[in-house]
Subunit: 240 residues, 2 copies
Amino acid sequence: MRHTRQKNSTMRHDDTANGITANEEAAPPLRRRRAQIRESNEAQLLACAEEVFAEKGLEGASTAMIAERAGLPKANLHYYFPTKLALYRRVLEDLFEDWHRAADTFECSDDPVEAIGGYVRAKMELSRRRPLGSKVWASEIIHGAHHMQDILNERVKPWLDTRVTVIEGWIARGLLAQVEPDTFMFMIWAITQHYADFDAQIRALKGKRALTRRAFDEQTEEVVRLVIRACGAVSPRCGQ
Amino acid sequence: MRHTRQKNSTMRHDDTANGITANEEAAPPLRRRRAQIRESNEAQLLACAEEVFAEKGLEGASTAMIAERAGLPKANLHYYFPTKLALYRRVLEDLFEDWHRAADTFECSDDPVEAIGGYVRAKMELSRRRPLGSKVWASEIIHGAHHMQDILNERVKPWLDTRVTVIEGWIARGLLAQVEPDTFMFMIWAITQHYADFDAQIRALKGKRALTRRAFDEQTEEVVRLVIRACGAVSPRCGQ
DNA sequence: GTCTATAGACGGATAGAC
DNA sequence: GTCTATCCGTCTATAGAC
């Protein structure tokens, strides 16, 4: 994600050279290019911010370090994001979008084995693909969740409520043991996110290197087995 | 834990008044009293440090705020703990001691249901009794565990290795399903610590108030049931 | 041992030239 | 839109009187 940038971008000189005559077919209009620059710089900053926030925490991260990794002067960071907190919130919102995509794999399916297994796999995959984001998210909650109360109340809570209902339905139909739905969901979150958030501990205890893709897939399947056994899920078709 | 302190302590005046004649039976010797003051101030500072580190993180916490909560001037904090990092490390070490006491309830017993159940209960109780400490611990690991590599390598790893062996023994004797011992232990850690570390999220999703003692005990038993089912533990005496 | 005052470094944010 | 220089606040740590 580290990114060095040439000091005198010729692209930017072209922008001003084209000036008002830029509205031709060949060259995209000035406004469009400006938007592209903005988009690219913002994305770059968001990605680097996620890194630094994960490594150092909200207070430990400095805008100077984030800007440096993005290959921009600190002042530019403040041009795109007025305050450090605004940048942090954008990172959290981006993370929620990813969380939400994984969450929707918890289909309100007939088959709890399929639905729960699929959800656990999606959460594990998210932990594998974006471990730094998971750390930012976890750290925010640990330190009080002050900057994501709105996300929790307006986005996560409704989602959780619907899944609790689904789980209660499965229990009523005898497809699941009599688990507390909340506790069960928390267990899924806890174990799947553990692999991203606590990887420094896992590496210290089980060997320095990060898991290979293959090893991670095996881990995933073991977690799925543990979770399915924990809730005693059975498929509605085959009696087992 | 907040603590205001009278500016002109008469106790301290007595210290100097007694001076050299203090070596009598009635009054404890000066050196002894000094030691008591040190002990009391250090304990106070450690407790307040745990609070502030949990709330704000390592970098977000300021020595000024920790000292203020302990009712001491900032300079006194630096008298007892030379640097903020030294104070932080002491907090981590204290936390490990508590962790270790809970860990030893994982008896190398014959009965996995008893041993695992007892361990889960001890970990849940630790989360209930010292949630702020759990957050400091978790935050430290999330941000790279840079200040506890020694604890992880020299203290936690040996402990984990022995328990893995015990679990493998139970599996070999047919008292446990064929779980991956590591994954299973991580699951126990993840779910039990979740109740301390992520309580801000739990409160946001399930109601503002913290759990009552009774509700927490019920939670604990539900977690025990989930964990026991997950590993398929059976008692060696009764075939179930 | 206690406490005031302050040194010295760093961080977030901005002014203003280009 | 970019970037240098800088303001101003806060932070850790310490000096030195009591």
